[in-house]
Symmetry: C2
Subunit: 227 residues, 2 copies
């Protein structure tokens, strides 16, 4: 009976972690849409919803701690709990970056827009969203092979990131009126790039879950990053 | 005898965590000096030293996990181990930001320099370094009161951050030749600001260590941030 309860609790922990991932995915998606469409109302929604994400992280911390303290799980189960403890920080920070994107949206005051850069950022965001969804799916399925593949996709995000960086520099140099706006494009670019890094972290946690080994996926790619 | 070993291990864990903190502090200090003095050799040193910081995080993870699995610590001790597990991620990310500052230094190619902005960044970096040292000291002493005070100091970092942001925008608008260089100033500004946020996170972990409560220090300040 005791054992059955533990398994229920562990399952509940996984479900709550996945839910947190979905909240974060929604925040990223909404924040980028808000930014591209200059939709301040949607941006405020993202900022307000962040409290729920932070609260969920606290909740996962508490549950994990209590499960370890009260049930003293064995190696495999302990590893699952530790993974939730660590990876929930990554999710929380992805949420923070969505908030930063939302804040950029609110700061914008009718600046000149650059459709070409906005289009590229939208493509980049779509790719990031896809990676976030894939990594949550790989987590639920404990699919280590898929996790390794997803981490490799971060190179595409880094390529986007370098491209947007260059577009912004060029734009600022050719038209000083777009400097303030281009700065915001550049910041949003850097937030999306960081979100890609956090996805890679979660991929590493999935590998850890299966093997007990702490690996660094994609270390070389990180060195080439601009941000 | 068993118990004595556990206390030795716990003490060792604290020492190793503090050492990691000192490595990170050194990385931040060196990276900013490298940036201000355009010292690419020093910047490369920071990038190379980061592997040791990452390795230390992996080492702390492993030790923490084994201590939990093999010794099944009670609440207070478990809390200390969990704190090391979580806060070492914050340290590791602070190290990553030092690397980002170092990378900016290497990217610079004889751009026009703006002494006024460099001076402000140097002051900001000195303040950040001081906060990092203070938080490591508060951790060693388990000084919760001090931790709360240090978290409040993050407001000063945010004020610097806003100031540098405005200076950079103004600079770019008045002299297009400084756009590339100002972008790097702005990025370094954002990395230092984030390091301040991670210091706040560690302050929160010190409070947790003492009270078992997960608190959010400085939540309002975060909302006012540019980055």
């Amino acid at each position: 009976m005791f054992r059955r309860n533990f398994e229920d609790e562990l399952n509940d922990l996984h479900v709550r972690f996945s839910e947190m991932g979905m909240m974060v995915n929604e925040a990223i998606y909404k924040s980028v849409n808000a930014f591209i469409n200059h939709d301040k109302t949607l941006a405020k929604e993202v900022i307000e919803a962040d409290a729920r994400i932070n609260q969920r992280e606290v909740d996962l911390e508490k549950r994990s701690f209590e499960m370890i303290a009260l049930q003293q799980p064995v190696t495999g189960d302990l590893r699952m709990i530790v993974t939730v403890m660590k990876a929930s920080s990554d999710l929380e920070r992805m949420g923070d970056h969505a908030v930063s994107i939302a804040k950029s949206t609110i700061r914008v005051k009718g600046n000149v827009r650059v459709p070409e850069i906005e289009q590229t950022l939208a493509e980049m965001a779509t790719k990031v969203k896809q990676m976030v969804e894939e990594v949550l799916d790989a987590y639920v399925k404990a699919d280590m092979k898929r996790a390794r593949e997803i981490a490799l996709e971060d190179k595409n995000i880094d390529a986007f990131s370098g491209k947007v960086y260059k577009m912004c520099l060029k734009q600022m140099q050719s038209d000083p009126d777009t400097i303030v706006g281009s700065m915001d494009y550049m910041l949003v670019d850097s937030y999306l790039e960081r979100i890609g890094d956090y996805v890679t972290n979660i991929c590493e946690w999935i590998v850890y879950l299966e093997t007990g080994k702490l690996v660094e996926l994609n270390a070389n790619a990180k060195e080439d990053n601009i941000f």
